[in-house]
């Protein structure tokens, strides 16, 4: 189980896609997953985020529902079947978002105490929110209400709010980084050099814990 964490715009999805292709070319089956992709709650969360009545506590619990559904119905079965699970964000993003919104961190942590400890936890770090803004702008998709923390009323406009919101997120991530032992990757470098580092780290992980008969898919054994 490999977690890729990082704030909005650091390139998580790009790197997950690259890792996935690379792992598959090396013969590993891969499941990739990420927030709001659950069958149970994904649609409901997206609908709720379109409106203007989603409260702070409700939001955290909706995300926790999405998480547990993916954990129980996607991640755990895939791990048991010998897949490499790549997850775009994990409980750390959920906990950081809650903390930035002034939610009791003991509460949110107790909710996520049912999560599985990942085998690797890669944190793509960009230290300045200004750099993140550049990426959001050049991506062409523009500012998102929630990624800009507009629900918190932090700035005059999307730009200012985004900067302040991401600055706070980075601060929380930095604190968690030592607490949860993140492997930090400097994501302000080129995609190619970050990808090379990630591949090296994954190779090391797979060499340290090679697939045993126990975690190989029964179907592979049967064939």
């Amino acid at each position: 189980m490999i977690v890729i964490e990082g704030t909005d715009g650091v390139g998580r999805s790009t790197h997950i896609e690259l890792l996935r292709t690379w792992l598959e070319s090396r013969g590993h089956a891969v499941l990739d997953t990420g927030m709001t992709r659950s069958i149970l709650a994904g649609r409901g969360i997206k609908e709720a985020k379109k409106g203007h009545t989603l409260g702070r506590l409700t939001m955290q619990l909706f995300y926790a529902t999405d998480f547990i559904d993916r954990l129980e119905n996607e991640m755990l079965p895939a791990l048991r079947a010998g897949f490499v699970v790549l997850t775009d964000r994990y409980i750390y993003s959920a906990m950081a978002r809650a903390e930035v919104r002034g939610i009791d961190s003991a509460w949110i942590r107790s909710i996520y105490s049912m999560a599985l400890v990942p085998d690797a936890l890669f944190y793509l770090r960009i230290s300045s929110p200004q750099q993140l803004v550049q990426r959001v702008v050049s991506s062409g998709r523009g500012f998102d209400y929630w990624e800009s923390g507009m629900d918190l009323g932090l700035g005059e406009d999307f730009h200012d709010s985004f900067i302040e919101y991401q600055r706070r997120m980075l601060k929380v991530f930095d604190r968690m980084s030592s607490e949860f032992d993140f492997q930090v990757f400097n994501a302000s470098r080129s995609v190619r050099s970050v990808a090379a580092d990630l591949r090296r780290a994954v190779t090391k992980l797979l060499d340290e814990s090679p697939a045993t008969e126990d975690n190989v898919s029964p179907f592979q054994v049967a064939v």
Partner: protein
């Protein structure tokens, strides 16, 4: 975030709990009528009724998507939405909030489903502690009889069919309700629930409720509609 037992509001929160078929909704409706007639501003909130979560719950029930943990968390999401929208704001405004089922329903059902007792309580720790929490207690056979005779088809999750105890809905329901009742009984002292004997006459139960509630009402705060 303010935790259970630490909120201070001018309003009052009265809630009813009990197994299915215990008559709690009937009692709450009668109470509602009385409080309205007395001129109090009353707001009613029902378990599982958040407009944000409703579609997700409905779909999940229909397609049997729940595990005990996701069932628990989605119901907590629903409850959080109602707490943030329907419960705290009226209490701040000094109104009386009546809730049909509260966190104790989740504690009873989720633990009966196998969720960890402490974990479920932690999840709901943001809830407002009720001014009075009524637990309508009916013996298991009475409750089951009331439900089964009134409804020919027990629903999948209602009967605890997801837990695989029995392929017979009625048998599964009986086992499930038994576990739920056990959980309620241990919560009476844990949360100071007020037990109402649900086998007594409707009138007598209602009198008992009104007597208790009137001790918590501030007569001066009565509205002008009366």
């Amino acid at each position: 975030m303010i935790s259970y037992g630490q909120h201070q509001f001018p309003g009052k929160l009265f809630i009813v709990e009990g197994t299915d078929g215990s008559g709690k909704s009937t009692q709450l409706a009668l109470l509602h009528q009385w409080l309205k007639a007395e001129g109090y501003p009353v707001f009613f909130s029902e378990w599982n009724s958040s407009p944000l979560v409703k579609d997700t719950t409905k779909r999940a029930k229909k397609r049997h998507l729940f595990t005990p943990a996701s069932f628990s968390l989605l119901h907590a999401t629903d409850f959080a939405d109602r707490t943030e929208r329907d419960i705290i704001p009226p209490l701040k405004a000094g109104a009386i909030v009546l809730a049909d089922r509260y966190i104790y329903t989740a504690f009873a059902r989720d633990v009966a489903r196998g969720c960890d007792r402490t974990w479920v309580r932690d999840v709901y720790s943001f809830a407002v502690r009720p001014t009075v929490a009524f637990f309508f207690r009916a013996p298991l056979d009475v409750a089951i009889d009331r439900i089964v005779s009134g409804r020919p088809n027990l629903k999948y999750y209602e009967a605890g069919m997801d837990l695989g105890w029995s392929d017979e809905p009625e048998e599964s329901f009986t086992i499930f309700q038994g576990k739920i009742l056990e959980e309620y009984d241990r919560m009476v002292s844990e949360f100071g629930l007020t037990v109402i004997d649900a086998t007594r006459s409707i009138e007598r139960q209602q009198r008992e409720m009104r007597l208790l509630i009137s001790q918590h009402l501030n007569k001066k705060k009565r509205g002008k509609s009366h």
